[in-house]
């Protein structure tokens, strides 16, 4: 796919962007059903934020998309792949899907550049020289070209997360999944990571983002999906869901998140 994407963020870019289509997805751990029939479509180039209380199933849903969790029922289509097909080539599909974790999960025994190049060389069979070039380009893209030789333990949390984003981008993904990318960061480094993600959205990348950053969701997301108890409670245009939610559960959640020190006086 080589689409010219016009999106609400005002950016126009030529990208390879893939869409996601999830239909009636169910996932249980033993008798505990964490996803109770989720249906969700993400168009190529669209940015969708998943919000909701912890335990609502949003991370599980995200991890089902690249099969880090195996769904029990329903179907997931990613680009040209049917992830839920038992015969799917998981590794081939995952090359198209970048994943960014809450805990970064950088490879501690490799420097930033090697973190970005290792899978290019071993999976995409690029030459080391070509892979290094791509890695440096992507490290520069996240503002860390000058730290390419640093090891993960020599980088701050925010820098590590940006390297992790560069690592995922180095595989030329058509879809990026973010699993609470700023939740493990010191507050002062959150902004750097969010601005990298904002730029990525402008370039037309398809993004599915689990986040608690309501400001980011409101500004960058095309759509926001509020999940609670394993179901989609409400979804719609970001501005509308966050500023004027229709469902009482959404209202209650947003009130707690946006005004955490608010104390209700009960009679």
């Amino acid at each position: 796919m080589n689409d010219v994407v016009n999106n609400s963020r005002g950016g126009t870019a030529t990208v390879h962007a893939a869409g996601v289509s999830i239909t009636d997805l169910r996932k249980s751990y033993g008798t505990n059903e964490v996803l109770k029939g989720i249906s969700l479509d993400v168009a190529p180039g669209e940015v969708v934020c998943l919000i909701g209380p912890s335990g609502s199933g949003k991370s599980t849903l995200l991890r089902c998309v690249n099969l880090l969790e195996q769904p029990n029922q329903g179907s997931i289509h990613v680009g040209g792949f049917e992830a839920t097909d038992p015969d799917v080539d998981i590794d081939k599909m995952r090359r198209k899907v970048g994943m960014v974790f809450q805990q970064f999960n950088l490879f501690p025994h490799l420097d930033a550049k090697r973190n970005c190049s290792i899978a290019q060389v071993k999976v995409l069979k690029r030459s080391q020289a070509e892979a290094d070039k791509v890695s440096l380009h992507n490290l520069e893209r996240v503002g860390l070209g000058h730290l390419a030789d640093r090891f993960p333990d020599q980088l701050s949390g925010g820098q590590q997360q940006r390297v992790a984003i560069a690592r995922a981008l180095s595989m030329d993904p058509e879809l990026m999944l973010f699993d609470e990318p700023t939740s493990a960061l010191d507050p002062e480094t959150v902004g750097d990571v969010l601005s990298v993600m904002r730029n990525l959205a402008k370039e037309g990348m398809t993004m599915l983002v689990v986040t608690h950053e309501m400001g980011f969701a409101r500004e960058v997301a095309d759509r926001v999906v509020f999940m609670d108890g394993g179901v989609v409670v409400e979804e719609g245009v970001a501005e509308q869901v966050i500023a004027a939610p229709a469902q009482p559960r959404t209202k209650e959640f947003l009130r707690r998140v946006l005004d955490p020190t608010h104390i209700e006086i009960e009679e």
């Binding site: 994943m99 490879f107 501690p108 025994h109 290792i118 899978a119 090891f151 333990d153 995922a168 595989m171």
Partner: protein, 263 residues
């Protein structure tokens, strides 16, 4: 006279040290130095041990240890992966192997291997091969447990990140997980090499020829030929320390390095 708690603690420490010193002094006084001097510290007669103890004894001990370690490490890695497998049969085989070979004396394994297997298959085989396999079989059981702990200490997110980049399971293990596991187990693995060095002394039971003698057999040979009592064994023992003390220092260095950085 009343003492403070700190003074009492100090006096008690002095008393302990005093008892220790007295006990050692008593042992030294009770020793028959004249007799033992002739049979254990008789260094005047050990000249013929040199330079053979270097060129044969030390060299063979090192060769046997390295060969045993290579087999032990490969076998240990295989067993560790089997033990962590999701396929129950692999886990049972690995557990059975590890428990069996850790549970019986290494000496019995060497005898069984050196004599039993040639009888069973009607072949007489190369002694170096027997030594390598018998040391490796025992070492792999110990190394497997060490490596398993190391593999489990690598955070689950590492495998997930590697798989998310499109690496197949085996590639993710080889490129990402196993190298990190080795870093974690470097100190205990060095200790396994020390144990293996000492275990190599047991292979004298396999009937080595003179050129195949390792340190202990070389020392035992000296006992019967030099008339210096047990002194040759003392010399051989010193040579083991030449190998094991640097290894021990190395292990400590690895430990302090991994304590300093998490890398």
């Amino acid at each position: 006279m009343a003492m403070t708690a700190r003074q009492r603690a100090r006096v008690s420490l002095y008393v302990q040290a005093g008892i220790f010193v007295v006990a050692i002094a008593a042992l030294i006084l009770a020793t028959d130095w004249k007799t033992i001097g002739n049979s254990v510290f008789n260094f005047a007669k050990i000249g013929p041990m040199f330079p053979g103890i270097f060129t044969t004894g030390l060299v063979n001990t090192l060769i046997y240890t390295v060969l045993g370690f290579v087999v032990g490490l490969s076998g240990g890695l295989l067993l560790a992966l089997m033990k962590l497998s999701s396929f129950p049969l692999y886990r049972w085989i690995a557990t059975g192997y590890i428990e069996f070979f850790r549970g019986i004396p290494a000496l019995l394994v060497f005898i069984a291997f050196g004599y039993g297997v040639p009888l069973a298959f009607g072949v007489s085989w190369n002694i170096t091969l027997v030594v390598m396999l018998s040391l490796g079989i025992v070492a792999s059981a110990y190394i497997a447990e060490t490596l398993r702990a190391g593999l489990q200490a690598v955070p689950k997110g590492q495998l997930e990140a590697a798989r998310s980049l499109g690496m197949p399971q085996w590639r993710a293990m080889v490129t990402i997980v196993i190298p990190q596991a080795f870093r974690i187990v470097l100190p205990p693995l060095t200790n396994e090499v020390i144990l293996l060095t000492k275990d190599s002394s047991l292979i004298y039971v396999l009937g080595l020829t003179a050129s195949q003698y390792e340190l202990t057999k070389f020392g035992r040979d000296g006992i019967s030929s030099l008339g210096a009592g047990l002194t040759p064994l003392l010399v051989a023992g010193a040579f083991y320390l030449v190998i094991t003390i640097p290894l021990s220092l190395l292990a400590r260095k690895f430990e302090s390095r991994s304590a300093r950085t998490k890398r």
